[in-house]
């Protein structure tokens, strides 16, 4: 694949009969904030040039100035629709650096919450892209389902969108009592709403015609552009980090990786729909197999001791002080840990110099290759396909621009 040369932003030399359309940064379909300079010939897209950076917050640089655990709230804001996955991924990477492994219960809860996050993310993606295609009602069905899932996150850690649930070596707290029953009710609500949406969309002729054959990305191109996640699987490549290099306890669950064949928007939609069902399957298995025991690593060199202990035990008080002021201190070295984010491989590359603060944090965002592939996907299509494709690649500004 040839990379197009950098676009000349001077619209004087567009060519005869062409129109430059500046979609965004303030445009209803450009969720998050991104600008897409589209050159049109009638309704046909000649070229599209995404300009990113409107949501750049300096996540990576900020992390260098805080302790490892203080990075975790920042990771919530990467993909703010599936924050648990970011939490878990970052904590896993630091634990890999430290060479510790959290207790089994913690790992199961992290899997459970990650899958809940994946469901919320896919529900949002399908709902929002259906809304952009005019199917407004589906959006509310799916957002109601998402709300049920958000409530589970709220129960577990007290926050819907920015949970900051994971800690290096454990979790902020254990699940509350009665969580399993609440989760079962929420999963039921999701399944019902999903079935409604399925009936409204999947075999809807208008919806099918809008998505089928648009925004196509071939398997080869997808691999060449390092696209991951549902978009890659829709192109026919069965790559899923949970299967390819299992982390946490994903190897103990029975789940399928849905794979498409055309790599178009409709396949992406189908893959996401199926992944929601598979995620619910994993979450249910995780709940059923949830072991007892502590959720935190036993060593006070890694994780804060319980508050009560700091009042009566000098070692705990010292650990509390050291961990709060200096932070956990991984040995010098570097590590890469990938997790399967909702949109693809979410990787954390961490470098430690042995102090309590990261020397370098680098995130491999799944949205970046997807957004980079957007011009190739929309070229030659109609302007309406830009919206359909953009909705299905589910660009998340917070993650893309960090």
């Amino acid at each position: 694949m040839n990379r197009a040369p950098a676009k000349n932003w001077d619209i004087e030399d567009l060519g005869e009969g062409r129109l430059a359309l500046n979609m965004g940064p303030s445009h209803p379909a450009m969720h998050g904030i991104v600008r897409l300079l589209v050159t049109l010939e009638g309704e046909r897209v000649v070229s599209a040039d995404p300009e990113i950076g409107y949501l750049h917050r300096g996540f990576e640089k900020t992390c260098e100035n805080v302790t490892w655990n203080q990075c975790i709230p920042y990771t919530d804001r990467l993909n703010y629709v599936s924050p648990f996955i970011n939490n878990a991924g970052f904590a896993l990477a630091v634990e890999k650096l430290l060479g510790v492994e959290p207790p089994a219960r913690c790992q199961y809860i992290r899997v459970l919450m990650s899958e809940i996050s994946r469901v919320t993310d896919h529900l949002t993606c399908i709902g929002a892209s259906a809304m952009e295609l005019g199917a407004f009602t589906v959006y509310f069905y799916l957002i109601n389902a998402r709300e049920a899932m958000y409530r589970l996150g709220d129960l577990a850690c007290g926050a819907r969108v920015t949970p900051a649930y994971a800690r290096v070596g454990g979790l902020a707290n254990d699940l509350p009592p009665g969580f399993a029953a609440e989760a079962a009710a929420a999963f039921k609500a999701v399944r019902e709403n999903l079935a409604d949406a399925d009936r409204l969309l999947t075999r809807n002729r208008i919806f099918h015609d809008r998505l089928r054959g648009t925004g196509t990305l071939t398997k080869e191109d997808a691999v060449a552009m390092s696209v991951t996640g549902p978009a890659l699987r829709a192109a026919g490549m069965p790559f899923d980090v949970r299967k390819a290099s299992p982390y946490l306890v994903y190897d103990r669950f029975d789940f399928d990786v849905p794979v498409g064949s055309n790599g178009d928007n409709y396949d992406r939609y189908l893959v996401r729909m199926e992944e929601i069902r598979q995620s619910l399957r994993i979450a249910e298995q995780a709940l059923a197999q949830l072991p007892g025991g502590p959720v935190n690593h036993p060593s006070y060199a890694v994780i804060l001791p319980p508050k009560a202990e700091t009042h009566g035990c000098i070692e705990a008080l010292m650990a509390h002080f050291k961990l709060t002021v200096d932070g956990v201190k991984p040995p010098a070295g570097e590590v890469y840990q990938a997790v399967e984010g909702a949109n693809g491989e979410l990787g954390f590359y961490l470098v430690s110099d042995g102090t309590g603060r990261p020397w370098r944090v680098r995130v491999r965002p799944p949205s970046l290759p997807l957004t980079a592939a957007l011009p190739a996907m929309v070229k030659g299509g109609y302007i309406a396909d830009v919206v359909a494709t953009f909705g299905q690649i589910n660009m998340i500004g917070g993650e893309l621009e960090r």
């Binding site: 259906a130 809304m131 005019g134 199917a135 309406a384």
Partner: protein
């Protein structure tokens, strides 16, 4: 030279016409305003929400009944923005051109048969030209100017795209719209809407009302599809396409924008009224005649003429509201077409089908003669 007697008649005629215009147009505009609320309430019901229920007058909310008033006031107080590069005259003219044809069209719709008032026979239709159906198509064809000029005069790329889509779409679907109505004219032998409604009062085999839906069932489906498309509502709202190109009225604000919205809702009401008039017997109530009910079995119930007229107007209103509701339901169920799909639906599906419908109607009429 005019005689005093003629003057009285003329004055009476003018007064009656003015009263009818005020009553019917006022009613239509009132219902249109309520339709904006209905749209929000129906969508809320379908989407598991409550919908607007906060606007209150003296603490009274009536479950959101005052929201159209609040919306109107809000629009009134918004800044009336005009882009610097816009064509001043056309920009100001476009909302008027969008709204005027729709409101004009209400004049042709019969909302009842007649009523005897102080010994005068008052036709319950503002205007009943003999070629009403043609006039209807002609005037509704004018509304494309408002839409197109709005996009053109704004000098905005998004608005221009919307205007181009709107022009292509509305002109295409007007063709189908006209052809679907040809079958009706063949069946009822008239192009006057009042005549068509009267003809629908006849009975087939002594018990089936000869409504348009019975004689031209296929045309009804085509008509409703084409009419919604001509009105640019979802699933045909490409000219607006709020998540794609925002629409031909993108640069409009304040009451100018409200005029476009109002025109859309008024046209929705108009389509509903036309569906009722052309295919569902207009003001006809099955087996209700000037003198009262006459059932096929022979049973009869005599009614005063004014009761009959009231029931007929009520029936017309109910039928119209039903089709308004149907359009709302469609709007909130279906996704939007893409431009090329919309065009191919019109020219490759609906148009041949409507022509086939005309041929089939002709063949059937010949066979039945």
């Amino acid at each position: 030279m005019t005689t005093p007697a003629l003057n009285t008649d003329l004055l009476l005629f003018a007064a009656a016409a003015a009263a009818k215009v005020l009553l019917f147009l006022g009613g239509a505009m009132g219902v249109t305003a309520l339709l904006t609320l209905a749209e929000r309430k129906v969508s809320a019901l379908m989407q598991d929400r409550i919908g607007p229920n906060r606007a209150a007058i003296a603490g009274l909310t009536l479950n959101g009944l005052f929201h159209p008033v609040a919306d109107g006031l809000k629009m009134l107080f918004k800044e009336d923005f005009r882009p610097a590069a816009a064509d001043r005259l056309l920009f100001a003219l476009a909302p008027v051109l969008a709204l005027a044809p729709v409101l004009t069209l209400f004049a042709f719709i019969p909302f009842g048969d007649y009523v005897m008032l102080f010994g005068y026979q008052l036709d319950l239709c503002v205007a009943d030209p003999p070629l009403g159906l043609f006039l209807l198509l002609a005037v509704s064809g004018l509304s494309v100017y408002g839409t197109f000029l709005a996009g053109w005069a704004s000098r905005s790329n998004f608005a221009l795209l919307g205007a181009l889509r709107a022009a292509a779409q509305m002109i295409s679907y007007e063709v189908t719209l006209g052809l679907t109505l040809a079958g009706l004219m063949m069946v009822y032998g008239s192009a006057s809407l009042q005549d068509i409604v009267r003809a629908q009062g006849a009975l087939i085999w002594g018990w089936i009302p000869a409504w348009g839906i019975v004689t031209q069932p296929f045309a009804f489906v085509l008509f409703l599809t084409a009419a919604i498309a001509a009105n640019k509502r979802t699933p045909f709202d490409l000219a607006e396409g709020e998540s794609e190109i925002i629409g031909y009225f993108m640069e409009y604000s304040s009451m100018r924008f409200a005029a476009f919205m109002f025109a859309e809702f008024a046209e929705m009401l108009l389509i509903a009224a036309l569906c009722a008039t052309l295919f569902f017997g207009g003001w006809q109530v099955p087996f209700l005649y000037e003198t009262g009910f006459m059932l096929p079995g022979g049973a009869a119930l005599e009614l005063p003429q004014w009761v009959t007229a009231l029931m007929q107007t009520g029936a017309f209103a109910l039928k119209t509201l039903f089709f308004c509701w149907l359009q709302l339901l469609l709007r909130w169920t279906l996704p939007r077409f893409r431009f090329d799909q919309l065009m191919s639906l019109c020219w490759r599906r609906l148009l041949p089908l409507s022509i086939a419908n005309i041929l089939a109607t002709g063949a059937a009429l010949l066979a039945l003669r």
